[in-house]
Amino acid sequence: MTDTVASRHSASQWQLMWAKFKDHKLALVSLGVLGVFYSIALLGPFLAPCDSWQTSRFAFAPPARIHVFHSGRLMRPFVYGMKMTSDPRTFERSIAPDKSTVLPVRFFVRGAEYEWLWLVRGNLHLFGVGSGGQINLLGTDILGRDCFSRDIVSTQISVTVGLVGVFITFVLGCLIGGVSGYYGGVVDNVLQRFMEFVTCLPTIPMWMALGAAIPAQWSNLKVYFAITVILALRSWTGLSRQVRSKLLQSRDEDYIIAAKVAGASDSRIILTHLLPGFASYLIVSLTLEIPRMILGETTLSFFGLGLRPPTVSWGVLLQDAQNLAAISVYPWLMFPAIMVVVCVLAFNFLGDGLRDAADPYKE
Amino acid sequence: MPATDTILDIQALTVRFHTRQGLVSAVDGLDLALRRGRVLGLVGESGCGKTVMSHALLRIEAPGRIEGGRISFFGRDGAEVMLDALDPGGSTIRRIRWKEIAMVFQEPMTSFGPQHTIGAQIGEAMALHGIASGRALQPAVVASLQSVGMPRAEETARQYPHQLSGGMRQRAMIAMALSCHPTILIADEPTTALDVSTESQILELLRERQAALGMSILYISHNLGVVAQIAHEVAVMYLGRIVERAPVGALFASPKHPYTRALLRSIPRVDRDCALEALSGNIPEPFARPAGCSFHPRCPDRLVGICDQVAPALRRMDDGSEVCCHLYGECAHG
């Protein structure tokens, strides 16, 4: 016992954090979940069996079942083809599995062309049914596009928006908060008022106003970054407030004064001495900032003021799902909603876990 | 069988905490008696369970639990109340708290609520226990503040805790503690957070009030020197047990238990110049209490085979002191 205590005391701040973090099961699980999300984002089109924009005549096809028994005998996993009957009078489509065509699910099949991370062109997919037909694990939308593939590709955009946005937040927050807290006095006061002003702008209206101002002819990449910037414009305040207060606390601590006496430049002091002092806090608040951004992007795109087709993000997909048909008849269109909720929850739990871990006063 | 002038009699009291690491016995079979109008000093290193014990007396030991022993309290009328048997949320104990047994806490900084004025918080207690109410309340509060020698009492009553200095706050705390004229005052390291000069003032104040009101005081401290100044009788506590109890003179003249001796040796003395000794080793992890005499790992003159096997019992010595150590086992026998 006693020697473990000793080792605890000699452990570095990060080891301590990790030790405490591991106690927080929920956070640990969330970390895993997010891991999944981001690896989906990374692999993207490789995981998607179809080209997410490839339309087909099978509109609103329900999610396909994976079977292993065909006419009584066991065989490798397969899906049935689809046959569609549409009533010309009521315009009702009914899509039923076509038992005659069996499409075995193969792995590492060649399929639709895609560009991986705008770099590598490829056509290898984790799984698929080849050219014979299509496999729609999560059904199709009105244009007969494969929802599963779209959900995967949209993940790429949506989860990265948060990261990029948070990076901007981080820079802004540290810069403004740092200056404000380090110099104090008039500078501080002015910057404080400015922060107050930013917090006074109702988030979503402000986002909308700025989102509406994005020129239509901008390329999707440009729009994407514009959106992240817009999102960040609101979120840096929280961070900078933290940076500021922490700075104000530690500004007069001996080692800083020592550094000053030693004649280190202000920026150097801020960067090398002060920031590391509370890096853990920054990480926490950044982690909690990401989900807000994801929600923000979703909301903006949902109202058509954010990303727009052909870019697919969760918001864009949900925009298509904003109708009673999606809710009452084609529920699989709502799947992105589940992804949003899960992702945001995961980030929040992770943030909580990190917070507990980072807080030295809670033993 | 407690003496007639016993006001508080604790027998084999055990308080345990159920923590994630395991069961912790903060107080473990503690015996102690407090006599009317006397000051009992309770000494021990921090973490030995003094505070838990004192909280147990007021039944605010939660999240700890009393899991053994008994606490009998003899009120003004001499009737016996089993504190340990009471429901900690019940009305009986609430009537005893502050009215019978009041307490002065360790941190004068945080022991007052920041939201209300000093006067309000003192008045709250007085009103609660029917000392004063309505119009009479405010003067009573001021009086109680004056009684602890608070300068500008009226103004202080109107001030908020964060506007007072530490010493002043502790005075106010004492005023609040005495405001309901309790029969027992528990002072839990009341001076630890204060500087030396203030400390002596506070001690002086306590001594003066005790003499004036004739209440009993349980003075808890980790500092024998401080206890020496105020207590009639001293009990030394180690790992939730009393290891030695003696009149203050006897204890300082001839300390018996090795632990007491060690403690004494760690006080600076002007009249004798010898190197200060710190206690060797530190307190064992609470949930790894050593077998036998819990002090034996640190004991300079432990008897191998006995001390680390058999737990000693409290023995009364000729000079009226009591000690709990195998070293004195024999002389008791013969």
């Binding site: 109702p202 979503i204 209206p205 929850l345 | 806490f105 945080t110 022991s111 609660l128």
Partner: protein, 337 residues
Amino acid sequence: MARNGQSGALLLRYVLKRLLWAAVVLVLVSFFAFLVIQLPPGDFLDSYVEQLSRSGMGVDSATLVSLRHAYGLDRPMVVQYWEWVTRFMHGDMGVSLLYVRRVNDIILERLPWTLLITTTSMLLMYAISIPVGIYAARHQYSLGDFAASLVGFVGMATPGFLLALVMMWLAYLAFGMSLGGLQSPQFMQQAWSWAKLKDLLWHLPVPLFVVSIAGMANLIRTMRATLLDELGKPYVTTARAKGLKESVLIRRYPVRAALNPIISSGGWLLAELFSGETVAGIVLGLPTIGPVMYRALLAEDMYLAASCVMVMSILTVIGFLVSDIVLAFTDPRIRLS
């Protein structure tokens, strides 16, 4: 509350300072609003001129120039800004081409509903989240605590528009509640009556829920957290030792302390509410400012859009002001230092 002259004076000084700051912030807000007018491509005048010549022949360059002058669009930004602000201060927010009426009238029509929604949901939030938070803190890790935080998290993680959509649909399925608006159409033409009021109350729950859930989640979490570390503070032990009843004690000491962060978050909360109100307003078709702004943005009817942003921000600033002042009353440490 101010217990003596000195602290009263301090309080006054504090309030004045806050007022001054609020004024500064408002100036910045007006800059932003003006920015909103200027940002979009294809400027306001083009639209306006075209509107003029709707059934006519289009306007020749000469007329264009004269119009530009009439609208001060040929003058430098600063001048334009100044004119806009002064007009705004005189209560003239310009005219909306989309609604073909003065922006003032539009705002005035929508404001009461907006305030109704926001204030009621604010009260609702406090009324629910404070007791729930207290309960969660006092019975930590209990079933109730778990349930509360679960609701809290879901409320926090579900996008408002989604919630609105689903709730609306459920309300329709369950009660056949008409979609869009706060009243059934047949009542909207009538004067106020009990039936109309009942109809209104009948429509309120869904919007209120959607608007307040996110903030409520947040409040519960804050309340629980702060109360938890307040409960550990020594002064709680003191109060307990004094023989106070547990319920009284909790109310008088830790809750009072834990309320401060809640109160100070009031202004921020208002900002959040306007966000929520905008989203819910659009999806549920509420008669609030949000949808108007949305419409105006799509139509690039910028004077209207900017005024909406401006009004919401002003209200938020006021919210911040009020919460700060209330805080000064409840927390002596702020008032007296």
